[in-house]
């Protein structure tokens, strides 16, 4: 019966080397002042204290949460609306077209997508501003103003990712038992009532998965912000991941960056736990 170990060995070794050990080392690093040529000095909680007392931290923390909240809400809501709209009989050609149109952005690297969008968003020669001007709306400083930068990133993120949630939710909607729906229709239940009393409870576990999955991704957002704004203007779009990469590979503050990444991990954990607890109220078992 020991054959099992042989089969799991390659994956376990690689997993230990590239996931488990690094996570453990990061946690240890976070308690040190690490210099690449001299090694580590134990400094206890100093890095954590530094993050918590740094005035920038509050904005960076807030940006991370704000982006995650906006991106998750819009991605899942728009994905659900699209899924509901698409979950009806229609010609196959249309179905293929919609799959292509809504899912193509999902499979393209955010790095590529962001390069294209940075031109869309450019103030003077951007396509978006050109058409806004045609509509009589003035120029919008999409990425160069701290007022709009975060919104611009969220808009691109929803364009990029909502198709993913749409596909998953379509699959969930197809599992809603048709006889129950038909019976409710016969009894004269309004579309909203059918949605809130039948569809929503039925797809709630999948919807919950979408929210958790989207949150974990959004809390770690990196490439879209990096390419569109690099965290600026000022710190207005700097998220934890951008900040930690700056600290690690810009200033080579590896111990401090490790502490920031541990804080990020704890944040992801806490949010996931809150969502799991909250889900007991609305997710049907």
């Amino acid at each position: 019966m020991q054959a099992g170990y042989v089969f799991v060995l390659p994956s376990i070794v690689l997993y230990a080397a590239f996931v488990l050990a690094p996570v453990a080392i990061t946690i240890i690093l976070s308690f040190t002042y690490y210099d690449i040529s001299f090694g580590a000095d134990w400094v206890g909680f100093e890095n954590y204290v530094r993050f918590l007392t740094e005035p920038r931290s509050l904005e960076i923390f807030w940006n991370t949460l704000r982006f995650a909240f906006l991106a998750v809400s819009f991605n899942v809501a728009v994905g659900l609306i699209l899924a509901l709209a698409l979950n009806r009989a229609m010609p196959t050609v249309l179905l293929y077209f919609f799959r292509l149109a809504f899912f193509l952005p999902v499979i393209i690297s955010a790095a590529f997508v962001a390069v294209v969008w940075s031109y869309f968003y450019s103030v003077d020669f951007g396509v978006i501003n050109y058409y806004l001007a045609q509509l009589g709306i003035g120029q919008v400083p999409w990425l160069s103003s701290s007022k709009f930068a975060m919104t611009s990133i969220v808009i691109m993120d929803v364009w990029k990712n909502t198709g993913f949630f749409m596909i998953i939710l379509i699959a969930a909607l197809q599992g809603v038992p048709k006889p129950i729906m038909d019976a409710a229709s016969m009894d004269g239940a309004s579309p909203w009532r059918r949605f809130s009393r039948i569809t929503l409870p039925f797809i709630s576990p999948v919807l919950f998965f979408c929210i958790v999955f989207a949150s974990i991704g959004a809390l770690q957002v990196f490439e879209s912000i990096m390419i569109l704004t690099g965290g600026g203007p000022g710190d207005s779009t700097r998220s934890l991941s951008i900040y930690l990469v700056d600290e690690a590979f810009g200033s080579f503050e590896l111990g401090y960056a490790a502490a920031v990444s541990v804080i990020m991990m704890i944040l992801v954990l806490i949010i996931t736990i809150i969502q799991i607890i909250g889900s007991r109220r609305w997710v049907r078992e």
Partner: protein
């Protein structure tokens, strides 16, 4: 009575049409960036900033593509790096994840469930938490600025193991049990019975893995700085820096080439991609 129900049916038909019209409009809007990207890549440099933007290029000018290939950025080398990393990572994951998934789904051995649980925890760690030690380790081993480093760290994934295990568990066991009775070894059972059953799931995993490796940005950016070792997503950042002032069309030509494999993969295996994604979502 009769007319009333006909009226509601008529109304319903119009609602359906309206919804499809709105969806079509949105679909076209969703595709606009891609259209714009391709159209821009065939435009002479001078046309790139022309307002109002013309939808179609005035002529199909391939000189932007030639410029990319002839530029000081070693585009072909970078393209090769991306292919090399994505192909090897995909093969690696198919092998390691299939073996492990088979053991977790079909074999019994002490500690199996705890091992699987530890593996699953891996889904929770952000890439940001593992990158610093990998960076330090690679610096010691001379694997920084080496695409091989990107391959090594991608050779297995919790997601792959989890997905394939779920798939295997949903398959009937009878054949394997019969083979076991007949004295077949575990490897034979794996090779002859489980692997063929896994084929559709492996296809989906291969596409997801290839696309993921092709698109990866965070780790390559942290581990690679030299142009000769770059992969496409980070190179795109670089190209943009070099060329954006003068020539937007050239960046778009490079981008078109960079997204081509993934777009083709999607067009060819649309069904598989979508099933793979749905599968990973629904049964997680």
């Amino acid at each position: 009575m009769q007319t009333r129900s006909m009226q509601t049916r008529e109304a319903k038909k119009w609602v359906d049409r309206a919804i499809i019209a709105v969806l079509l409009l949105m679909g076209i809007l969703m595709l606009m960036p891609f259209f714009w990207l391709f159209s821009m890549s065939f435009r002479p440099a001078a046309e790139a900033y022309k307002m109002p933007p013309s939808f179609f290029p005035p002529s199909f000018d391939v000189s932007n593509y030639q410029t990319v290939l002839a530029s000081s950025v070693p585009f072909l080398k970078i393209y090769w790096n991306s292919l090399y990393v994505a192909v090897l990572v995909t093969i690696g994951q198919l092998v390691t994840c299939t073996l492990a998934a088979f053991a977790y789904a079909r074999l019994r051995f002490p500690g199996r469930d705890s091992l699987f649980f530890v593996m699953l925890i891996g889904l929770m760690f952000p890439a940001q938490v593992t990158i610093l030690p990998i960076y330090l380790g690679y610096a010691k081993l001379g694997l920084l600025n080496n695409p091989l480093g990107l391959v090594l760290m991608g050779l297995t994934s919790s997601f792959g193991v989890f997905m394939l295990r779920q798939f295997l568990r949903s398959q009937p066991k009878e054949l394997e049990e019969a083979a076991l009775m007949d004295g077949a070894g575990y490897f034979k059972i794996f090779w002859r019975i489980s692997l063929p059953q896994l084929m559709p799931a492996l296809g989906a995993l291969a596409i997801i893995t290839f696309t993921g490796a092709w698109n990866a940005y965070f780790q390559p950016r942290a581990l690679i700085t030299s142009q000769d070792s770059m992969t496409l997503p980070i190179a795109m950042d670089l190209l943009r820096g070099y060329m954006s002032q003068g020539n937007l069309s050239v960046v778009m030509a490079a981008m078109s080439m960079a997204i081509l494999p993934v777009v083709l993969l999607f067009l060819v295996a649309q069904k598989m991609v979508i099933e793979g994604v749905t599968f990973s979502g629904i049964r997680a």
